[in-house]
């Protein structure tokens, strides 16, 4: 229950429903009955955080344990933050309304780099000392997981423990250890040292980083017996892995307001720009039977009439047609619709089209990522133009009129001709509509071309690459705009300013912590929101902290440089990434995991796609 004092503030802010909890499915316990209170913080608004699958899984998993009470915390929007600061209301958890300073664990999920200032701001709003070194006693353990934990160095000063990889087991092991330490009256330092020996746990304060004169890293040295290398955790048996049979169902509209079923983790593709495609290796699938059972339970328990099948590339699910048939056997009679995001062009067969067409007809979305075949080969995005055009033709003949195409600019090896081909591909899709025999009569096609700016990420073959300068990116955007000659194409592009900041933090090191803290002091947060983000302010922060952001974003690293995340092991060998990078330079594609194993290193986990019969 929200604190009574906020009632007077709620009608002064937008969407007060964000701040009150009380949804169906929320878990209420008596705090006197539990040993560990866990504040699960999502460093963005309620609508975004509540749409996120990871928080739903861990929320249910933790609350299954009678001795843990896990509650939800979201970043208050700026209007609410102002009210809370004015009236001295600390950041509170939605279930109990208690301030987060009452909690043992304050856990963040790090989905995007631009939420770092929100992490710090939330600690501040909760009255928690911001820096790890200023927190004493066995309480307020600040932990974080999620994809950004693969290079967490820019916020290492603020976080006590990072979880690498899948959280389902390691989180509970750490909570269990904490419970023991509390019982035995151990110190915070002792607890952290013990935690560091659990696989998948990274305690940044136990590592010393030294630098060379040129600013690159000289050495990463573990202290106090902490392991040299921290290995990520993986759930290998997805059917046996915990999955919630109920969600907290929001009372207000959120971004993705539907049941979500994860059908597999990982991706077989190995697109060279895509971090998720490497971080979550190897591919591990759930069985058709398991997916159907879990989806059905979720719909029954939540009342949702829409299920989204979640994965990095839905059509790569090895049993996709049997799965859709099985799901439709109960979904149709119960008026439940299925949605299948992240479909790939080459997997989009008539069969699949038939199965999903019966349910919902929305626009088609494709992500060719690059305009020319040459560049698509270089980034290993194995989408062929004829396949894409063919799929569009099938779809147009099936009654579709809108197609969205997603591209990236600033990819390694990209030329201006590659950039112009983005517009050309859009035009070819328009032409396909007019040449389709059974196209919807009297309608015209709407093709949206979106271009985002490429951000090089750790654990990808492009981790050594410079990001294009902002000027170059703007020039490329202009070039696409000028190359589009038809009104049937709408061109959207993302602001290159935020991509620049993202690139700084994605491959940042510990020295950036100073800038994050300074930015927080200057009131910066919600950097992912154009209403709040200001590159100018960030450039001033970097300048005042003596940091050159281009060192992180726009510098080419040599293959033998020590990278800030070299002590973190996601199962991917550096030699493999290097090989893939060199193939990119030669515009050579690589086969996917089902066609041929490339020996990336993830087979050491002993399961998944690596051991499928080929």
């Amino acid at each position: 229950m929200y604190p009574k004092e906020i009632e007077k503030l709620l009608l002064k802010v937008q969407k007060p429903g964000r701040y009150v909890g009380g949804e169906l499915g929320e878990v209420i316990k008596d705090k006197r009955d539990v040993d560990v209170r866990f504040a699960f913080c999502f460093p963005d608004t309620y609508e975004i955080g509540m749409s996120h699958l990871g928080i739903k899984i861990l929320y249910s998993l933790f609350n299954e344990k009678p001795y843990i009470w896990c509650e939800r915390v979201f970043a208050p929007w700026i209007d609410m933050e102002a009210q809370m600061r004015e009236h001295d209301i600390p950041l509170y958890a939605l279930e109990s309304g208690d301030p987060i300073s009452d909690f043992d664990f304050i856990g963040f999920t790090l989905q995007y780099e631009l939420s770092y200032t929100n992490v710090v701001n939330m600690l501040d709003l909760g009255g928690i000392p911001l820096l790890s070194k200023d927190r004493h006693g066995l309480e307020h353990i600040v932990v974080a997981g999620g994809p950004c934990a693969c290079d967490p160095e820019p916020i290492a000063d603020f976080i006590d423990i990072f979880f690498l990889g899948d959280g389902e087991e390691v989180d509970l092991e750490v909570i269990e250890l904490y419970r023991e330490c509390k019982r035995e009256g151990r110190s915070r330092a002792e607890f952290l040292r013990l935690a560091a020996n659990i696989k998948g746990v990274y305690v940044p304060s136990l590592y010393d980083i030294s630098y060379n004169e040129d600013g690159t890293i000289n050495a990463i040295t573990p202290l106090d017996g902490a392991p040299e290398v921290i290995e990520k955790r993986v759930m290998m048996d997805m059917d046996e892995s915990f999955y919630p049979d109920n969600f907290v169902v929001p009372n207000i509209e959120i971004v993705h307001d539907r049941a979500v079923e994860e059908i597999f983790r990982g991706c077989i593709r190995g697109c060279r720009f895509c971090q998720a495609g490497f971080l979550y290796r190897p591919v591990r699938e759930k069985s058709v039977e398991c997916i159907s059972r879990q989806c059905h339970a979720l719909c029954r328990n939540t009342g949702y009439d829409e299920v989204s099948l979640s994965s990095l590339s839905s059509s790569d699910y090895s049993q996709v047609v049997p799965l859709l048939k099985e799901l439709n056997s109960w979904a149709k009679p119960e008026n439940v619709s299925l949605s299948l995001p992240s479909l790939r062009v080459d997997g989009f067969t008539d069969d699949i089209l038939d199965e999903i067409k019966t349910v919902r007809k929305s626009g088609l979305t494709f992500a060719p990522e690059a305009g020319s075949q040459r560049l698509r080969d270089a980034i290993n995005k194995n989408v062929r133009e004829d396949e894409l055009i063919n799929t569009c033709r099938v779809a147009f003949e099936g009654g579709y009129t809108t197609v969205k195409l997603y591209f990236m600019i600033g990819l390694p090896t990209e030329t201006m001709d590659d950039v112009a081909d983005i517009a050309n591909l859009g035009r070819k899709v328009v032409d396909t509509f007019y040449s389709a025999e059974n196209r919807p009569k009297g309608k015209s096609p709407r093709v949206t071309v979106s271009a985002s700016s490429f951000v090089p990420k750790p654990f990808t073959p492009f981790q050594w690459e410079p990001q294009d300068s902002m000027d170059t990116l703007r020039e490329k955007q202009r070039h696409i705009k000028e190359s589009i000659t038809t009104k049937k194409i709408t061109f959207n592009y993302h602001d290159s300013d935020t991509s620049f900041l993202e690139a700084v933090f994605a491959r940042g090191d510990r020295r950036l912590g100073k800038a994050v803290l300074e930015a927080h002091k200057r009131g910066m947060r919600f950097d992912g929101w154009s209403d709040c983000f200001s590159l100018q302010n960030w450039l001033e922060v970097f300048e005042d902290c003596g940091i050159d952001p281009t060192f992180y974003a726009n510098r080419r690293r040599s293959f033998d440089e020590i990278l800030p995340w070299d002590h973190l092991d996601y199962g991917i060998k550096k030699s493999f990434l290097k090989r893939e990078c060199e193939r990119a330079y030669n515009s050579e594609t690589s086969p996917n995991c089902r066609e041929k194993c490339l020996g990336c290193g993830a087979a050491k986990y002993g399961g998944g796609v690596c051991f499928e019969k080929r």
Binding site: V20, R300, N335
Partner: protein, 220 residues
Amino acid sequence: MKNVRVFFEKHGSCKYISHLDTNRVMLRAIGKSRLNIWYTEGFNRHAYITFALPLSLGFASTCESMDFRILDDDEDLSSVPERLNACLPEGIRVYRCIESVHKPADIESAEYDITLEDTSDNISAKELSDKLNAFLELPEILVDKKTKKGMKQVDLKQYILDFRMKDPEKTSFTLTLPAGATLNINPNLLINAFAEYVSAELYADITRTGVYIKGGEDFA
């Protein structure tokens, strides 16, 4: 097929669910409860529900109603509240289900329990109550009201159908105002005018406690 009306309370965190969101919450609850109700025809089929008198965001209520059609004539209506409550958030509680008697268009007025407070604590509750009494004694209370034809100045005084101070120590009172499709007066209109009159920022805790048809009979 039966035309059915359920009555429910809305309070606590559910005060902050807008009318549109309430609609969504109810649709989901009906789906989950598996009540056999009438769906609209056509491609985008959905359960058909309507609300007689939408409630403003931030108001609690003891007397909301929602209408739908039950397909099975033999359905036991007395079990409906329990079935729906199992599928609704705590802050929405259904307490009665009947075959509807009146038409939503019959609604003429609504009653509210209101407690006022000066957010900056400059005016005591007692003082505020005195000022409210004086304010309501004014010959006219002119406010700007949004209508379909744009802003219009209206005299609220004529619309106050009933006013009773319940507890002057807390500035708690009961107010009855016109409500319904033809003329609807939101109590916030009066409260805002009063806030201006006392030059203070007021916090109003508002609960709708009755919905009436002609002659003050309960809407049923």
